[in-house]
């Protein structure tokens, strides 16, 4: 490793007096100040202000955004999750709890389903491992990022809530149709 000695830069007289640099700094800040002032009158074409007026304006999340995990149904509105508990196993903060159950009737060719499926959003770290681990493509991290509740219990998303958030996704597996 070669040692490189960096010489402390020698300030010129003008810089040592500071006045020019101070004025330069003041001009820079006031430029931004007036930039935002201008933007206030023409908010649509704002140039300087970076603030987003949050509840009215919202960020357009990218498709790979990792928001809250949610369960999805196939295009026929059928449950995709088979309660294999891979997500529960892989979940680093142990946020997922599944109570598997067996269908009472044998009419369908799907045997197992989650009786209860709970994700504790106070534990969830939005890592997306559940989505990666899911062999049935039944759990996805959706663009939901605003979880505000006044009761801790509400942060435990049950099956109904998870399906409501997840909605329907085109399915390639269609395990209900044939096996």
């Amino acid at each position: 490793m070669k040692t490189r000695i960096v010489k402390r830069p020698q300030l010129s007289v003008g810089e040592r007096i500071y006045f020019a640099t101070v004025v330069k700094g003041l001009l820079l800040t006031i430029k931004h100040f007036f930039g935002v002032c201008r933007d206030l009158f023409d908010w649509k074409n704002k140039k300087t202000a970076i603030t987003m007026q949050y509840p009215e304006e919202r960020w357009d999340f990218k498709d790979n955004f990792r928001g809250a995990p949610a369960l999805v149904m196939d295009q026929f509105g059928r449950e995709k999750c088979v309660a294999c508990q891979m997500c529960e196993f892989v979940c680093p903060p142990k946020a997922i709890t599944i109570w598997p159950a067996e269908f009472a009737t044998k009419d369908n060719n799907v045997e197992k389903f989650p009786d209860r499926f709970e994700i504790d959003m106070l534990r969830c770290i939005y890592c997306g491992f559940c989505e990666e681990a899911c062999p049935e493509e039944a759990i996805f991290l959706v663009k939901e990022a605003e979880l505000v509740h006044t009761d801790k219990k509400d942060f435990i998303h049950d099956k109904g809530k998870l399906y409501e958030m997840g909605g329907i996704r085109e399915d390639r597996i269609l395990k209900w149709q044939h096996k």
Binding site: V82, A83, C84, Q85, M86, E88, F89, P100, A101, E102, K106, N109, V110, E111, K112, P135, E136, K179
Partner: protein, 509 residues
């Protein structure tokens, strides 16, 4: 058959007992040969073909399970030819496999999964529609059959025929339609039928009781002993979150080989009973242990003049019985009994004594209760209620003025301590044939629960400040071994995971 023969496995020379097959012989060289249909306790079928090995001097590959070692034999378990053959077998086996591992209970302990990873190629070239076979077929109220997963190894067929003695299952049809069928109405009847679930190397046979309860990788496994009868079958208990989910047999050639009865296998529901007593009750109200022990002490001291009746339970471990014996010695109690539940037995494993430690209770000086109870009136009763079976008759209970009970469920008594079950504590029991075996703690049902040995020791210490109770079951056993000649020389490590025979008792094996 006798003597040793020298064989070369993958170039490594080993001496193995004569008469072994190549799978077992390979173990001596530290090699494992994959196998589905072969089971050391069943006859050889040789139909899965995954155990093919190359024997030097023989042109074709041979199945290792049905070939016995000969002097000077040299074979390869892991060369290019063998690997290629296995890969082909794996691909064939998986052609019609439904790949429903996500909902299969076998996942995680499935030989198909393991060998697919170890020996499979990872891809399939089969591009056609898979064969559909019946799924979720009920084989009675204990076993569920999935024909698509079945690889037709016939282990279950052979077990029911050769071990259980009830040949109920057979193969039906041929070729790709080949499947297992049950005789008659299609329901299994054998009291040992659930062993086929353990035997099945894939997920074709699953337990109705355990079905979808838990994935195996979530479970915590504890090696212990079944307590449903005096046989003391060695088992592995699977639990999750301090609740017992299943019991499977653990191989012990001296007790149960690889099997256990269905009754014992399903005999754990009382452990998970949420209505169990978890805190002591004093006069019908919940109380801390300290208060309950203080009350029990007062009752015992107050009853000294009037006599105390002590009734132990054959579900207690030797260490608990010894702690009780020490307490009774200290109190000078003469009348020590225990109740032995009896039932039906059979020739294979089921023992008529429906408790794990009746022999231990007898060795520790408790008398088997006769039909006639002493007609004396007692000042106090110290009674460990058995988990099941006949309890103390009502008139015997009434004969004591004060009652100190240990019970699984709440009962009317002056002091009622909660019992802990066999999976919640360490200890030893004396199984049939004077075999000393270890129980191992696997779960903590409730953190509030205190084991009986600790309660007895604390009660003892409250009566006698000089009593220094042992901390662990191993220490308690050492104390017991020092005090009783029947247990002379016994230590916790000497018993080992498979148990030992109590030589000193001189009883017939």
């Amino acid at each position: 058959m006798s003597g040793t023969v020298n064989v070369t496995v993958d170039g490594k020379q080993v001496a193995v007992p004569g008469g072994l097959n190549l799978i077992e012989a390979a173990r001596y060289a530290g090699k494992s040969v994959p196998h589905y249909c072969y089971h050391p306790r069943l006859s050889v079928a040789g139909n899965c073909r995954i155990c093919l090995v190359e024997i030097q001097g023989q042109g074709k590959l041979q199945i290792a399970c049905n070939t016995r070692v000969t002097e000077g034999m040299s074979y390869f378990t892991d060369n290019e030819r063998v690997r290629k053959a296995r890969e082909g077998i794996m691909e064939l086996l998986l052609i019609n496999h439904p790949l429903d591992c996500p909902i299969c209970d076998q996942a995680g302990e499935c030989k198909l999964q393991e060998y697919a990873v170890e020996h499979g190629s990872g891809i399939t070239r089969y591009a056609f529609e898979k064969v559909r076979k019946p799924k979720n077929v009920s084989w009675g109220d204990k076993v569920v059959f999935d024909s698509e997963r079945c690889i037709l190894c016939t282990r279950c067929v052979r077990f029911l025929d050769e071990v259980a003695g009830t040949p109920e299952v057979g193969l039906d049809m041929r070729g790709e339609k080949c499947t297992l069928v049950v005789k008659g109405d299609g329901k299994l009847t054998s009291p040992y039928q659930m062993n086929v679930i353990d035997l099945c190397p894939v997920g074709a046979l699953t337990s109705r009781d355990f079905r979808f309860k838990s994935r195996v990788w979530f479970m915590h496994f504890t090696d212990t002993v079944c307590t449903s009868c005096a046989r003391g079958c060695n088992v592995t208990v699977g639990s999750r979150g301090d609740r017992v989910l299943r019991m499977v047999p653990r191989a012990n050639p001296d007790v149960n080989h690889n099997w256990m009865c269905d009754h014992g296998r399903l005999h754990y529901a009382f452990v998970n009973d949420e209505t169990r007593l978890t805190v002591p009750r004093v006069a019908g109200k919940g109380a801390p242990y300290a208060a309950a022990i203080a009350r029990a002490k007062a009752i015992l001291e107050g009853a000294r003049g009037q006599g105390i009746l002590a009734v132990a339970s054959p579900f207690m471990t030797n260490e608990e019985l010894f702690a009780m014996k020490e307490l009774l010695d200290r109190l000078g109690v003469e009348d020590r009994f225990f109740l032995k539940p009896m039932g039906e037995g059979d020739d294979l494993l089921v023992h008529p004594e429906k408790c794990p430690n009746a022999r231990g209770a007898a060795l520790l000086g408790f008398a088997e209760a006769a039909a006639e109870w002493p007609s004396k009136e007692y000042g106090a009763l110290l009674h460990f209620a058995p988990h099941e079976g006949a309890d103390l008759p009502e008139e015997a209970l009434k004969r004591a003025k004060r009652r100190i009970l240990f019970s699984l469920k709440e009962r009317e008594a002056d002091v009622c301590f909660p019992l802990t079950t066999w999976i919640e504590k360490d200890g030893t029991v004396v199984s049939a044939g004077d075999r000393l075996q270890r129980l191992t703690k696997g779960i903590t049902f409730e953190p509030t629960l205190v084991t009986e040995r600790t309660v007895l020791d604390r009660l003892h210490a409250s009566l006698d400040a000089s009593h220094r109770p042992p901390d662990t079951a191993a220490q308690a056993l050492a104390r017991l071994a020092a005090a009783l000649p029947a247990f002379a020389g016994v230590t916790w490590t000497r018993i080992g995971p498979l148990g030992m025979k109590l030589e000193a008792t001189g009883a017939p094996a």
